[in-house]
Symmetry: C2
Subunit: 266 residues, 2 copies
């Protein structure tokens, strides 16, 4: 379905017992994880319940329906999403899958960097965007266990720099605004991934909104890949710090194209 | 640079002698072939002169400049383009490369279908768009020589159905209008590729403008690949004839993303 979330979702469902799979899985997401769970579940013959805010864009609902996920609508608040997911968990016995703060999801995500390191074992640095922390934690584990020298750097929009501040303060910080175009990165770190990030991520680079849009457009125009703003954040961090990265072998995880092509920022 | 034209351009330059390479290459194109010649020449240490109409979009000029092609501007008529290219050919001794009607370009293009058949030897049909005829001719040669059963079908916008009419009349037909969004397919067949197409292409399917746009949007949204309208024409032909293709193993050549992302048809 076009994003790394497929890796985490597939690994999480594959980690369930036969009995658990028969009762289905549930998640709350209106983004890539919703599509990933739907498609992974479909491929494995598992029922997927997707809790989504009523006001989620139709294009995102359609994508979930294509993959046969059952959408359950709720109000557009974190409380409503969690309550609705919990209700389905209890009523159907479905297993809850978290988009970023669950070991099996983190391990699944790590395969992106593992495969990158298999192809390019000489990397000095891998950069990945930081939202809920599931990708950067998986990437950090991959670099730690599958490379002797590769460091991992996160990239985050300045407007939602909770991970940047969390690494400084030593505890999970939150954002008071969500004013970033990188809608996949408006989430906070969790208790499963934050300790991994603290231990294995070198640092986090923050980028401005216009830098994200510029990086996104450059990827579209030159690589011909449809990436959403969230996916362009790590590349934006490299463009912003050319001197720092000029002499290094750099890998960048670019993933996720959940974008409304009728409503683009350029 | 994101399109099959790279294959033809690279093969054509690689087919030149050392002396010819030293004098450079010249082509007239404002599209993918301009970028392909520029990049292939840059990689092989060859000078590339690109003749382009004055009014070509800046985004296309910039792409050529990125690949170190030297742009020579001319008036926006076929006559002016040919005259300007001929002048450079004479002045610099540069070898002229034709975007579609040259054997080395056709052979280079054929590698797309050869690689597809290596991966999927069981294909019944390969579809490709038809513009100048360089891709469909190469594809037809590939299927003829590298598969026992694979047939090749071309796809063309109804608005510029010169190839469709040429196959019926047995001679190269031209268009009186160019009113298609598939700007890469506004060109005519040539004397090198038409005989190959006559001999080895099963038929040509024509599609409407709205079918092209719909197919393009579906590729963007589901495959996350930036394709230009011309690239979506073959997929549009399949969507239009689902029953005909339903029980067959189908390969579709999707290539070319030379699109102004600030000016999209959806």
């Amino acid at each position: 379905m076009g994003a790394f979330k497929m890796r985490g979702a597939a690994n999480a469902i594959l980690s369930l017992s036969k009995e658990e799979r028969q009762r289905g899985v549930v998640t709350h997401s209106s983004g890539n994880f919703a599509q990933a769970v739907s498609l992974a579940a479909q491929k494995l013959g598992v029922k997927a319940y997707i809790v989504m805010p009523k006001n989620a864009p139709q294009v995102k609902k359609n994508a979930v329906k294509t993959y046969e996920g059952e959408i359950i609508e709720c109000e557009s608040t974190p409380q409503a999403r969690e309550a609705t997911a919990n209700k389905i968990k209890e009523e159907k016995g479905a297993s809850f899958l978290h988009p970023s703060n669950q070991d099996e999801v983190i391990y699944g995500n790590s395969t992106a960097a593992i495969e990158l390191l298999e192809e390019q074992p000489n990397l000095d640095i891998i950069l990945a965007p930081v939202g809920g922390g599931g990708l950067i934690a998986g990437t950090a584990l991959a670099a730690h266990y599958f490379s002797k020298k590769c460091k991992v750097i996160g990239a985050e929009p300045k407007a939602v720099d909770d991970a940047y501040r969390s690494l400084i303060s030593g505890k999970i910080e939150t954002n008071t605004t969500f004013a970033t175009i990188a809608d996949g990165l408006r989430t906070h770190l969790g208790d499963r991934n934050f300790p991994i990030i603290q231990k294995h991520v070198e640092k986090i680079i923050c980028v401005e909104e216009n830098e994200i849009i510029k990086a996104m457009q450059l990827i579209w125009e030159r690589m011909k890949i449809i990436v959403e703003p969230s996916s362009a954040v790590a590349f934006a961090a490299v463009l912003k710090n050319k001197e720092e990265f000029a002499t290094k072998n750099i890998g960048i995880i670019i993933s996720g194209g959940n974008v409304d092509v009728k409503n683009l920022p350029f």
